[in-house]
């Protein structure tokens, strides 16, 4: 078997047929910032944080297939500025109050903000009016923090086999809905062990009565940046997927 190669920021990266750019990068220990991507699920490509330049053209690294000879730019000032702006967009379209959020320190949106040296929200906040669903006895949904990544949608559909979540509406009015007659979580068969409850990168889906179990200061991104954490967590997943191919 001949080895396939592409380059990321000049570094030669091997890949196997069928891998996306982000999978090849992760396997090689190169972090590409991302939020809607999680190697356990079908690539989605909506947050656009993983935008890289492939032979001069912008592509989403999480959905774009790796190919021989691709010259990929990733960790450049221009791309990181673009990513910072996209992160700011995600902050201002929702209602994110980090100091009072249970996910603070474990939140990928916040961690990506730090990683990209985001010092303010830059844009005027939209302050949307979004519904909180605390109807379920174990799981709560705070749409204020939802970044519409559809990870819960994918997890519930593809892993839990329950289809509890879906995206509805259009444009800036897009929102997460719950698949029940009342639209409430209490009327679904979601359970606290479901994958969908554990994949939210932000604090939109939380488990009740677990608040602040880990104190601030000892949380995932308090000591390490998201680049390190992401690679440590995702590299084995990508490798395992590779063996299964």
């Amino acid at each position: 078997m001949t080895e396939h190669m592409l380059t990321i920021d000049g570094q030669r990266i091997p890949f196997t047929e069928g891998q996306t750019i982000i999978e090849a990068a992760t396997a090689a220990g190169v972090y590409i910032p991302h939020l809607c991507h999680n190697p356990e699920f079908k690539p989605h490509g909506s947050c656009k944080l993983c935008t890289v330049k492939v032979n001069g053209r912008n592509c989403s690294a999480c959905t774009f297939p790796a190919a021989d000879g691709q010259e990929v730019l990733n960790n450049t000032q221009e791309l990181n500025e673009t990513r910072r702006t996209i992160t700011q967009m995600l902050f201002i379209e929702g209602n994110h109050f980090c100091p009072s959020c249970e996910k603070s320190g474990n939140c990928q949106l916040q961690a990506v903000g730090y990683y990209l040296n985001m010092l303010d929200a830059h844009f005027p906040f939209f302050y949307p009016s979004r519904e909180v669903d605390a109807s379920h006895h174990e799981v709560m949904l705070d749409r204020d923090r939802c970044i519409l990544c559809e990870l819960c949608v994918r997890a519930s559909r593809d892993v839990d086999g329950k289809n509890v979540f879906a995206l509805s509406g259009r444009g800036i009015n897009s929102h997460l809905i719950v698949n029940s007659t009342t639209g409430k979580l209490k009327d679904t068969d979601i359970s606290v062990d479901d994958k969908a409850v554990h994949v939210c990168p932000v604090g939109a889906i939380l488990i009740k009565r677990k608040g602040f179990e880990v104190p601030i200061g000892e949380r995932i991104y308090d000591g390490q940046d998201i680049g390190q954490v992401s690679l440590e967590h995702e590299m084995p997943i990508v490798e395992e997927a590779e063996h299964g191919r």
Binding site: M89, P124, G171, T181, G183
Partner: protein, 599 residues
């Protein structure tokens, strides 16, 4: 709204009429909306059960398309086209007058449930506006006199089917015909020629013609058909005609479907034979509902004539049929993969590519999606050969292009030109010689100024899906750009961050500048957001949404600068506007409840 047993019977009948086929969800919801004037929650439950799909899917689709609503709309549901060309013909004044006479607020149903009035994206009647829709049917040439009549008809409860026919007349207005509009096609003649010549050589002729997609992107038609034909591992192949003509200012497909439907269907049938498809679909934009019955009549005629169905023109090996599916108010569905999603009964969200529709299209099968005009041209090429077509046009843009010309000119309407024709020639022909600027290719295209009128129509210079809007000296460039920018923010599907958030930011930023609250930094910010939205969006909508801003900033910077304040920084929020909630809560609106912003 509680639903009675008889309502549920009605719903069951609608579902049965659509064979309980979940891919027909948009069609089913259209019928529910027109029967109940909205999609009540109880009916969503029922539809989910009867179609064996998630309730969330029914809700998500309902909330995606603008022609569906979860609150009852009026028994007479009137929408006024918000295209810039309608504005220029006085649509906003007409709408205000209509609302005043009917006693309604735009967007709200009148208390007696009789009528609602709202605005909608371009309805494709740009040269015969101000235009609108009543219960989905196109209204043209709205005047104050017509508004008076409409008010009477609404208040008397006269069913739309009994309204004066002249309200609904849609003219073709063809002013210049060339290869495609000027060649009469005998139904069936292209099919006969194709079989005489052979399928392979028919595809060769399409290739020789140099025909490229007429929707705007310009992908080689023969190449697309070839890829689809050669796609492996499929159970079936599909032909889809993209008749979701949503680009504001475009109405040439409307004319092709109204007066050249045989030619379009014949082109689809040729494609079906070439790629080996048995089923074709025409996805008609919801705004063209008035064409649905006539198109079905043409399809029935073709079946009777042995040009559709099985045993086509006596060939037992060739079976092909066409079904019309209708959209429900979503510009994004003109993007081919979003269109396919919509045809599958989903929200119109563009897919990730690769894979492309030619290998993984409708129902994940190889699918050719082509524009109406592409199929109309393909039918003629199958009949007359590739050289006949490629003789016209330029090196890279063969053949002719049909333009929809609207705006400030003496003779708006349909003009077919060989590629390579100059803007100046086109303007002279349609009586638009006083033009200050042109928007070529609709809001997603570019805005050019008078010094560029020697530029030519073609993929190598000025490509267009058909939209050609003319603006004279009286027009305010920023108002035009504002109209387009609001349009994109309204039509963004919401899938990717840069387009979902960025189009709203652009809208707000431009509104701020137009309202006289912008400083120099705001202009830099506008450029910055524009470039980001263009560079990082998921599909063509987002990638082109900032074109109106970027192309006018480049050509008319003084128009923007005139609106700026002398200071370099102006707060992002409006101090007085920020008090609005407090004013509402306290019920106050006196002078002390307002804050003046320092000028």
């Amino acid at each position: 709204m509680p639903c009675t047993p008889s309502d549920m019977k009605t719903v069951a009948d609608i579902v049965a009429r659509h064979d309980a086929d979940p891919t027909r969800l948009v069609q089913i919801l259209r019928d529910v909306q027109s029967t109940f004037r909205h999609i009540p929650a109880a009916i969503m439950d029922r539809l989910a059960a009867q179609l064996s799909i998630d309730r969330a899917q029914v809700q998500a689709v309902t909330e995606f398309y603008t022609f569906f609503s979860t609150e009852p709309r009026g028994r007479f549901d009137i929408l006024i086209s918000d295209s810039i060309t309608d504005h220029m013909l006085g649509s906003r004044e007409i709408a205000a007058y209509l609302c005043e006479r009917l006693g309604v607020t735009p967007g709200q149903t009148r208390a007696d449930g009789q009528v609602s009035v709202d605005f909608t994206s371009c309805t494709g009647m740009c040269e015969q506006g101000p235009a609108g829709l009543v219960n989905g049917y196109a209204l043209t040439n709205l005047t104050r006199d017509r508004v008076e009549r409409i008010v009477e008809l609404v208040n008397d409860g006269t069913p739309v089917s009994q309204w004066p026919r002249e309200f609904f007349v849609v003219k073709d207005n063809i002013h210049r015909a060339d290869l495609v509009l000027g060649t009469k096609l005998q139904p069936g003649s292209a099919l006969r020629w194709m079989f005489q010549r052979g399928l392979d050589s028919t595809l060769d002729e399409i290739a020789k013609s140099g025909l490229r997609g007429r929707g705007g992107a310009g992908f080689g038609t023969a190449m697309k058909w070839k890829f689809c034909r050669e796609a492996t591992g499929s159970t079936e192949r599909f032909v889809v005609c993209n008749a979701d003509e949503g680009e504001p200012g475009t109405f040439k497909d409307r004319v092709l479907l109204q007066s050249y439907a045989h030619q379009v269907f014949e082109g689809m049938t040729v494609c079906g034979a070439v790629i080996g498809a048995r089923r074709g679909y025409l996805y008609l934009r919801g705004e063209y509902l008035y064409l649905h019955e006539p198109l079905n009549a043409v399809l029935a005629e073709r079946r009777r004539a042995g040009l559709l169905g099985s045993n086509i023109i006596g060939r037992p090996d060739f079976e092909f049929d066409i079904e019309v599916r209708i959209g429900a108010g979503a510009y994004i569905c003109g993007e081919e993969s979003a269109l396919i999603e919509s045809m599958e009964g989903k929200r119109g969200v563009p897919r990730n590519r690769p894979p492309y529709p030619v290998t993984n299209g409708y129902l994940d099968q190889p699918t050719v999606v082509n524009n109406v005009e592409t199929f109309a041209a393909a039918a003629l090429i199958a009949l007359k050969g590739g050289a006949w077509f490629s003789a016209a046009g330029t090196e890279k843009s063969k053949g002719t292009k049909i333009l929809s010309i609207a705006g400030d000119c003496a003779r708006p309407g349909i003009y077919e030109y060989p590629f390579g024709t100059t803007m100046a020639q086109i303007l002279a022909d349609c009586g638009g010689t006083g033009a200050m600027g042109l928007q070529i290719g609709g809001p997603s295209g570019i805005f050019i100024g008078a010094q560029e009128f020697e530029r030519v129509l073609g993929f190598e210079d000025l490509p267009t899906g058909g939209s050609f809007m003319i603006f004279d000296q009286r027009r305010d460039v920023l108002e035009i750009v504002r109209n387009f920018t609001h349009f994109f923010a309204h039509e963004s599907c919401g899938f990717c961050t840069p387009c979902r958030v960025g189009t709203s930011l652009l809208k707000n930023q431009l509104d701020k500048i137009c309202a006289g609250h912008g400083g120099k930094a705001d202009l830099a910010e506008l450029t910055h957001i524009s470039k980001l939205v263009r560079a990082t969006s998921h599909c063509g909508l987002g990638q082109t949404a900032a074109n109106p801003i970027l192309s006018t900033l480049e050509r008319f910077p003084e128009q923007y600068e005139q609106r700026l304040k002398a200071i370099s920084f102006e707060p992002g929020f409006d101090l007085d506007g920020a008090l609005e909630v407090a004013r509402r809560m306290s019920g106050r609106d006196d002078a002390h409840a307002h804050l003046a912003q320092e000028a």
